[in-house]
């Protein structure tokens, strides 16, 4: 039953099959769209596209560093969503926490742009983490006190975050004399580059956070409480834990991780903020957490994969002429096959395979109401 190989396959089967299936679907999309638009049937185009995707993300030292840089916020965001999952909470709000984190770190970063880096950098990062934590605390406290469901509140807070960010960048943070809304550069607050042209220090900190995430969940009593509250809130209450406290704490920690992702993206990559700051990192993070099955190593691997896809997309567009949006198709189909895991399991006769989310039943159980009685 517990042969190590069998267990590893049980863990990996679903993600791996989902990825393979999405590659197949992606190939079909490439070939069929080429046939519809260009009128020619070119099965080789799919191979060209994937070749460019791989060489663009892994083919050179610079490409690899770019992949790591892209993977860093995804990793932290994935940890944010994964931690909430473990507590039975669905943090759709990683995107908002990411944006508020970036906003707070740009405010502090710009303010300290001429201070010594030894103060400027840690304070700017801390500001981002605090901002994200505050943005996670709000849905947490709402759920604990009134039962408002975190899925609803975090989605709404995402929009609030976007609006705040736009208002700040166009208003008080707008650099004097700039043609379009943009903040000043963060100057000395920028993260130091430790590898390649743009490999900032977050590349090291993010995996350390993944290790801390695993340590917290599996080696501490607090982690045991979080997992218990996620798996069976009634049993948590019976065991003398305080699910309400755990909800608030977990959401704040999740927000902190997403806020850290925002801080790194801002201080390490863009170094200033425009109204269009922020891609879809917070949403991709949900896919990363699911693909990584909420385990720290899984989330690292999933973040690397999605980071590589993002990085290789440009090369694919230039070299193979396949639009970079194909990456979104791949990402979405991976997620699709993961979520449809019962169907995939059935087709591939995977008995032991699990999506890894069976533990966390409560987010699916209550939609908007029950939270108050926890």
């Amino acid at each position: 039953m517990t042969r190590p190989l069998g267990r590893i396959w049980g863990l990996l089967a679903l993600p791996v099959i989902s990825i393979i299936l999405s590659v197949v679907v992606g190939s079909l999309v490439i070939i069929v769209s080429q046939w519809l638009v260009g009128g020619s049937l070119e099965p080789g185009l799919a191979i060209d596209a994937y070749g460019a995707l791989i060489s663009g993300s892994l083919g050179s030292f610079n490409a690899i560093v770019n992949t790591l840089v892209a993977a860093t916020p995804l990793l932290l965001g994935g940890l944010s969503v994964g931690l909430a999952f473990k507590a039975g909470l669905f943090n759709i709000g990683a995107q908002g926490q990411f944006l508020i984190g970036a906003l707070c770190s740009v405010i502090v970063g710009v303010w300290l742009r001429e201070s010594p880096p030894i103060f400027a950098i840690p304070l700017s990062i801390a500001a981002g983490m605090l901002g994200g934590a505050a943005w996670g605390f709000i849905p947490g406290i709402l759920k604990a006190t009134s039962g408002a469901h975190e899925v609803v509140t975090t989605i709404m807070l995402n929009f609030v975050a976007i609006a705040i960010l736009a208002a700040m960048v166009a208003g008080p943070l707008d650099a004097p004399g700039s043609p379009s809304p943009i903040t000043l550069d963060v100057g000395n607050s920028a993260l130091p580059v430790i590898i390649g042209r743009n490999g900032h220090i977050g590349l090291i900190i993010a995996p350390i956070m993944a290790a801390l995430y695993g340590f917290l969940l599996y080696r501490t009593t607090l982690g045991f409480e979080i997992r218990t509250a996620g798996a069976n809130p009634d049993a948590a209450r019976y065991a003398g834990m305080s699910p309400k406290f755990l909800i608030v704490l977990t959401m704040s920690l999740a927000g902190m991780l997403a806020g850290m992702a925002g801080a790194f993206e801002l201080l390490g990559v863009t170094k200033n903020m425009t109204a269009s700051f922020g891609t879809t990192v917070g949403f991709d993070a949900i896919a990363v957490a699911l693909l990584g099955r909420t385990s720290p190593i899984g989330i690292i691997l999933a973040a690397l994969l999605f980071g590589a896809l993002r990085t290789g997309a440009a090369a694919m567009q230039i070299q193979a002429g396949v639009p970079r949006e194909l990456v979104d198709v791949l990402q979405a189909t991976i997620l699709f096959f993961l979520v449809a895991s019962p169907v995939v399991q059935r087709i591939f006769r995977l008995k032991g395979a699990r999506s890894g989310l069976e533990d966390t039943t409560s987010f699916a159980k209550s939609y908007g109401g029950e939270g108050g009685t926890i």
Binding site: Y218, T220, T221, F224, D234, R237, G240, M241
Partner: protein, 537 residues
């Protein structure tokens, strides 16, 4: 009654030499079972004996490794539940498979829709057939009632109707009485007898000996995957069946010995508790439990016992009154404080409160003590200590599992309860609250848990035992309180109390018949949907 049916009558269903192996275990080992038309055939066995596997084979959910199934003498290969249903085999599960927000009729036709045309249901025709079926077997049910508003007993009847609607000839009931009150049990027995009389065959899975003796025409006993005997109720008794089931002589009566009550442990004064809907369900209850004594609370389920216990252990805030343990005020304190004061609690619902099913057994063994040394060191878990304790307790409480890392969900019900008991009995305690500690367990496990509780009592722990099983309360308790509609209506000596007297107190609260007939608002919901309730009271 019908034990002397001539063997020439062809069996409605026959299972021959059924063997089903799972990795590491032979769940069924050459089982022969023969169900005659119109008979109620009880399948008796301990938790984990292989009853469920056998029924899964019969229902097409598991393919047997060896053996064959014959329906009306013809061998069949069952490919799944749909196939089994098509061949006239239906199952009523212990946990009902009903949609609470749909009506009775909608639930019954689900998957077998009677269509007026390709787009729409023929509700009228479906309702007519349902009422008709109910009338034929003596339990008319309103097809338009929402299932969620029905009592458990009536939900079960809906499940049975669902089977009959699909023309079931063989009806398998998996522990049908586990969720029912004694009164509802009697009502369902009437229904089952009616079905048998109409020629349906019934497979009645249970481990309650007295019920099996009451309802079955024949009894097949399974132990560790094998048929170990077949009996006719008139030629056997509970002791005989228990011995067959467990494989050794079992004491069905608790050997409680003498108790030496000491100083006052738990003192409850004027405790008033509301339920989740804000209705007052415990009215000003006073009780005292001394160390070294078992104080039993008898009552039909739903008379406020659950809320009383939850208020005592810190899961529910009382609206008035006080709870004192050894002189320390615990009123309104949370479950952690109560636990630290020396109270352990075995909850009635082990799946909801007692266990985290997706966690390993080891984690469950420390669910209420993970924060204490040696299981934690400061903020950190001490996995080595947890694993060591888990292994020790698995051994000393005879939990049947391959390892402490197996998930709690993989254990049978009896073994799950042993995990809870092992965990809660471990510490030195002032008070042990046992809420239905043996519900759903087989006789072997019941005997074991009773003996452990008596040992705890002899060690000076005060024990508060709540149970709907009258026998259990009377055999265990030094003093018995009867709870009726949120009040303690009598407190009796547990060694001299008369079972009938207590039973009557449980059913009526000790008032005269005129009082009982008064319908209070909280009973009305039941009466609306349960036409039998009024007449049976």
């Amino acid at each position: 009654m019908t034990s002397d049916i001539a063997p020439v009558q062809a069996p409605a269903l026959e299972m021959r030499g059924i063997t089903k192996r799972y990795p590491g275990v032979v769940a069924n080992d050459g089982i022969d079972l023969e169900i005659r038309p119109g008979e109620i055939h009880a399948l008796l066995g301990e938790n984990g004996a292989g009853k469920t596997t056998l029924m899964n084979v019969l229902y097409g959910l598991a393919r047997p490794d060896e053996g064959e199934i014959l329906i009306d003498g013809a061998p069949v290969q069952l490919t799944g539940p749909t196939d089994a249903i098509a061949r006239g085999i239906s199952m009523v599960h212990q946990h009902f498979m009903l949609v609470p927000v749909l009506t009775v009729a909608e639930n019954i036709v689900l998957g077998e829709e009677t269509m007026a045309n390709p787009l729409f249901l023929d509700r009228k025709e479906a309702a007519r057939r349902i009422v008709d079926l109910g009338r034929r077997f003596g339990f008319e049910v309103d097809p338009d009632a929402k299932v969620g508003s029905l009592s458990v007993g009536w939900q079960q009847r809906v499940e049975i109707l669902k089977a009959l609607y699909r023309d079931a000839k063989v009806l398998v009931l998996d522990e049908p009485t586990a969720v029912l009150t004694p009164q509802e049990t009697q009502e369902i027995f009437v229904v089952l007898r009616g079905l048998a009389a109409a020629g349906h065959s019934i497979v009645f899975i249970s481990h309650k000996l007295y019920e099996v003796l009451e309802i079955a025409d024949r009894i097949t006993v399974i132990r560790r995957g094998k048929v170990v005997g077949q009996r006719v109720p008139s030629e056997t008794d509970e002791e005989d069946l228990a011995e067959l089931m467990v494989g050794r002589e079992v004491s069905l009566v608790v050997d409680r010995g003498d108790s030496n009550p000491g100083e006052l442990a738990l003192e409850v004064k004027g405790l008033t508790v509301k339920d989740d809907r804000g209705r007052e369900v415990v009215h000003s209850v006073d009780l005292e439990v001394r160390s070294g004594e078992v104080f039993g609370i008898a009552g039909v389920a739903g008379n406020g016992q659950d809320e009383l216990v939850e208020a005592l252990v810190g899961l529910r805030k009382p609206s008035a009154g006080s709870v004192t343990l050894a002189g320390k005020d615990l009123t309104g304190r949370g479950s952690r404080d109560v636990s630290e004061a020396g109270v352990a609690y075995v909850p009635a619902d082990r799946h909801r409160f007692g266990l985290v099913l997706s966690f390993p057994i080891a984690d469950n063994m420390v669910l209420t003590s993970y924060h204490r040394a040696p299981y934690s060191r400061g903020m950190l878990r001490n996995d080595a200590a947890i694993a060591r304790t888990a292994d020790e307790r698995i051994k000393s409480f005879d939990v049947r599992t391959p390892s402490a890392t197996a998930k709690a969900a993989t254990l049978s019900g009896g073994n799950q309860q042993k995990v809870v008991v092992a965990r809660e009995f471990e510490r030195d305690l002032r008070l042990l609250v046992l809420d239905q500690p043996t519900r759903g367990l087989d006789v072997g496990s019941i005997e074991f848990i009773h003996r452990q509780a008596i040992a705890k009592r002899d060690a000076g722990t005060a024990i508060l035992l709540v149970s709907a099983e009258l026998d259990e309360v009377l055999e265990m308790s030094d003093r018995v309180a009867v709870m009726y509609r949120g009040r303690i209506v009598a407190t009796l000596d547990g060694r001299t109390a008369d079972k009938n007297e207590v039973g009557l107190l449980m059913a009526t609260g000790g008032r005269n018949a005129a009082d009982v007939a008064v319908v209070t608002t909280d009973m009305k919901a039941d009466l609306d949907t349960d036409p039998d309730a009024g007449s049976a009271a």
